[in-house]
Every structure is written in C-alpha cells, then in structure tokens.
Symmetry: C2
C-alpha cells in the first residue's frame, strides 16, 4: 500500500472502501440491480468521482456474467468490399435492430481461413452471424462451431441444426424471367454475380458453373434458366456499376448478336448495363430491357426505376439478430425463409419489332 506503487486504476473495491460500504453495495449502485438508500448511493458516487473510477471494468464484468455483449459478424473477403454492397449495409442495419434488445455491439470479422490466434477463435463474443457462407467460409464455420456459441447463417448452408436465414433466390429469379418472357422477349442475356472467390469475369460454361461456390449466383441463375434455358450468361467480377457497364459492353457491342433484354443478378450490375446501353446510343427500355435484383436505391440512376426483385435485406439482418437474441435466451433458434417481390419499373418493356 506504499505510495510508490504504480497508480493502479481504482477498482470497485477501492471505491467501496473509500465510501465505507461493502464492495457488493458499491457494485449494486453501478448496476442498479437492487435498491440502495439514496444517501449510500451518493456516498459511493462521490467516492467514485473522487478516485476517478469510471464504472465497472467491462472485462471483469463479462467474465463474471458470462456475457460480453458483443456479437461477431463474419464477412467473406475484404471488409471494405462487403460495405461497398448496399445489400450488406442494409442487412447490417437490420441486424442492429434485431439485436437492439441485447444492446450488443457488432464485431466485424473476416473469415481468415484458419490458424490459431485468429480473431475468430479468440474474440470475446457471445454469438456469431456468418454471412454468405461459401467456400472458405466453411473452415470458419468449423472454428465457430467448436466454440459452442450460438451461430446463425445468412444465405448459406451451415449444416446440422444451425439456423439459416435464406431467400427464395431461385423462385424470385424465375419471376423476373417470366416477366420478360411475358413481355415477349426471347433473346435474353444474363449477367451473374461472381461465381467463386477468384471473381473471374467471363462466359459461364457448364464447367465453371459446376465449380461455383457462391450459392446466391448459382440459385439465381437456376431460376432464370427455368424460363430461358439457353440464355447465355457472363459472370461479373463483383457487384459494381462499372463492372456491370464492362460486361454490358461485351454483351451489347455487336448489334447483330445483341439481346433484347439483359437480366443482371444485382441492381448495381443492372445499372452498369443501363449505362453501357446509353453509351452505345441504345434507349432503355425502347431498344433494350434491363432487369436487376435486390431492390436497392441505386445511387446514380435517378432517371430510371429499375425493374427488379426487391429482396428484404433489412429483414434478413433483423431475422438473424432475432434468432441470435433467442438463442442467447436459451431458446432454440429456427431457420427463416424470406421471399422477394417483383417490382416492375421503367427499364423493361416489350421488345422492338424488327
């Protein structure tokens, strides 16, 4: 107790001693878990400010409580790439909502394939939400399962008894295709999302399709091909407007082989296709119909309303959050299947008569 000790931060015990009460009493003053006489509370609070005590140490509290109040969100690939995607950000929003009761923080984690010492294995979190579980992600899944904490997977397959939040990607895609078919289109091209982590741009051959690991892309393509079995498809390297424009140019450059409609697997890609069309002097939807997927507000496409399938991105996140909350309460988590809704905009119309 000599004064040359390192000025260790005050603990709740110090405060209690200083205030002349028991540690437990001081604890209760801060947690509010029981009633305390106003006078005692004052004394404790006074002692606290005097000692510069800023409240219970969260680390100690989480050990004691067995809860850290943090939920990990595991994203595939670069964090920044994830946040470039409006669907992801919307989902995060929903997640925050769904988790609101827990007032839990969200810890962003990448799915780093392995190694010990990884954040995945050592982060002091109460639960995990995995997003877009594919390929590498499966390794992460192992680590996470091993920790025995609640896990929820959004748009991915996690196997045995792990609650999933899924979308009717195939059916929704078929709806879009049917819409175009009904308008009279027979010559349709497809722009898919990236098929796996190489993110290679190019024609989607049966071989590449078989090797694809991104379920979303595969499922949506399946739906589209239910209606247009022979529609050619090109995979984009990512969901970006400029990427859509690039693929769009590939598709539209040659007037002879130009389709009457292009279906893109995301709104950003679709916006890019619209851009490519306009560059080439084609009018949308007069000369070319374009449809997307997601139903997000595309920044920079103000003059047109995209025909698209509106996915409940916020709901997806919220559902995941709610399941996590339930599981943290000891109830079993359940899977949820959400559906998309076709929204007909101003970018699709009957093909021009030739």
């Amino acid at each position: 107790m000599s004064s040359r000790e390192t000025p260790r931060r005050a603990t709740i015990a110090d405060v209690a001693r200083h205030a002349g009460v028991a540690t437990s009493t001081a604890s209760v003053v801060f947690s509010g878990k029981a009633k305390v006489a106003a006078a005692t509370r004052e004394r404790v609070l006074a002692a606290a400010t005097e000692l510069g005590y800023a409240g219970p140490d969260p680390r100690a509290a989480s050990l004691r409580r067995g809860r850290s109040g943090i939920v990990a969100v595991v994203l595939e690939g670069e964090l920044r790439a994830a946040f470039l995607d409006p669907v992801t950000t919307a989902m995060m929003d929903g997640l925050t909502e769904g988790l609101a009761d827990l007032s839990a923080g969200i810890l962003l984690l990448r799915d780093e394939p392995g190694d010990e010492g990884s954040a995945l294995a050592n982060a002091p979190v109460d639960a995990f939400v995995l997003i877009g579980c594919s390929g590498r992600m499966r390794d992460s899944l192992e680590v996470v399962r091993g920790r025995g904490l609640p896990v929820v997977v959004i748009e991915g397959d996690a196997g045995e008894g792990i609650p999933r939040i899924t979308l009717d990607n195939t059916a929704a895609s078929a709806d879009i295709a049917r819409h175009l078919h009904d308008l009279g289109h027979r010559d349709v091209a497809i722009v898919t999302l990236h098929l796996n982590s190489d993110r290679e741009r190019g024609v989607v051959t049966p071989e590449r399709l078989a090797a694809a690991t991104v379920d979303v892309a595969v499922d949506r393509l399946a739906g589209l091909r239910q209606v247009f079995p022979d529609a050619p498809a090109i995979s984009a390297s990512g969901s970006l407007i400029d990427e859509g424009a690039r693929v769009g140019r590939m598709l539209l450059a040659d007037a002879a082989t130009r389709p009457t409609a292009v279906i893109a697997q995301s709104d950003l890609l679709a916006a890019g296709v619209v851009r490519a069309a306009e560059e080439l002097g084609l009018r949308v939807p007069g000369d070319l119909s374009v449809a997307g997927f997601d139903g997000i507000a595309v920044d920079g496409l103000s003059h047109l309303t995209l025909t698209t399938s509106v996915q409940p991105a916020v709901d997806k996140g919220r559902a995941a959050g709610e399941q996590v909350a339930r599981m943290l309460h000891g109830e079993p988590g359940t899977s949820q299947h959400l559906t998309c809704r076709l929204r007909v905009g101003t970018t699709t119309a009957a093909p021009a008569v030739r």
Copy 2:
C-alpha cells in the same frame, strides 16, 4: 462432482486434470508461451478434444491479460450511412492495416448521445478511434475519456493531449480553386458537404456557416473562398451522387446565372453535378468544369476522370491504427497531419469564350 450437475463447459483445469498434468502446463500448451514436451502436449490436446474443450475462454483471458484485443471505432450517425461513403470504407481498410500487429478486432459503435448502459461505456475494448468528431460526438468523447483508454481522433478536434489525425483540407481546397482560377474561371459555384447533423440542403448563408459543426465542410469552404471569396455555395444533405445531381440542377438550371465551373466538396457530389450537366445537355468540361474532393474511384463515372484533390484516406486510417498500437504499447500517441494532392483529370478546362 455428481453427474447430475449442469453439464458445465470444460475449463482448462478440467482438461489438465483429465490429462494428468498441472493447469499451468495445459495453459502453456494452448498459449505456446513456453516449450512443452511433445508427449505431454499430445496428452493435453487429446484430453481437450475428448472433453470438447475449444481453447481458453476469451473473457477470462482478457480479464487476466488486461486486454480484450478489440478496438472500438465510433462513427457519427447511422452505421450504414457511414459505409456508404467510400472514404470511410477506405479509412477502415487502413485502420485494419495499422492495427494488424495487434490482430485486434474492430467493434463498430455509434455515438449514441449518452445514457448509462451504452455500449460506448461498457464495451470491453482496449482503445477508441473516433471518426469525424463533431457536435454530438463531443459527448461521446467525454464518456470515452472517462474510461482512461487510449483514444485517437480522425478529422476532429478532441482537445487536450488526444492524438489527432488531420488533413490539410483548407490548403488542398485552395489548390483546387487556384487550378480553376488559373484556367480562367471567375464564375464558380460551390457544393459543400452537410454543415451539421440536420443535413439541410440549401444556400450557405453567413449565419448557417457560423452555426456549422462539421469541420471538414467549413475548412474546405474556407480554402475555396481564399481564391473565390464571393463564390456562392449550396450545402448538400449528404455525400451521394444523386444528391450532387439535385444540387447540380439547382445550380445549372438557369442558363443566365450558370457558373462556368462547379467545385464540389466530395467526388460523389461532383459526379452528381456531372450527371446533372449531362442531363441538361452541357458537355463536361467543354461547357462546364467540375472538380471534386477525395480522389476515390467513383463507381459509375467510368468515362471521365475527375479533377480532384486526392486525400490519403487509407493512410488516415492506418495512421490512426498505428497510434493506437503505440499507445497500447505504452508509448505516447502523436498527432499526424496528412496532405492531399491535386489530381488534374478530364473534367476541368478553360471556360468557353462567350
């Protein structure tokens, strides 16, 4: 030790006992902090798998070590809004890098104005990075300072002894203005970022400017007005392409009062202005010069290269991360001032002769 006990998760002590070694030995096997005979290690590992022990409990470990391995990033406003901004995402990238040595996770936090029980006050984190410290943010700052943890502020004023990462917004803006002045422009209009948390769109009057709380907007405007003291300015409600287009239309609609150049305080806004100009049939840079700020790759502006001031967004984040790392090592944090670089693109040229 009766078998009807709740099947409590195994602890490292259980594993040790099961393997017939001391707890400390088992601990060392997992932490790798000392050499252990291969045979003993095997036995410990075997015992662990047998008991379903997935490694040390991070909560207990962080209490013991006094570190949780998590750094909080406090953002102003909605999380999703923050991530809609490419500069922010780039910065987060840099931050991740700067923090790499610590292999720390990043906990996303909003600056919720106060209340106890807030994540800001209770999250088990080792340090804080505050971004765009303004207005409400100051309350958050109080809470955070109270906790006595390392704090770094990016583009904001945190007062007394708190390391800041700042940008030469004023000087860089003056550079842009000078570039346009040199080209011969005298009739220039400005589109500013939002001035405060209301995000009101409209003419920037001296009164509004005086009440502005967003330093970045104010500083950049000051730089521009060094060169064009009388340039009219309109504040945007946020940094988005569509918002830039909206303000752009306000500025360009009337041919009589139309400026020969528009300087926007962000690239996204500038892209919107370009869009508005194109809609009105104006050519950029032939009929109108447009400049931005940030130097990001604007998704959806592929045909033009924006004249802009390239800010070291990634470096900003990295610098913050490095300071945090230093402070966590017990060294004092130091402020860093970073500079932008003018990049002349294809959107500015001499004004048309009239």
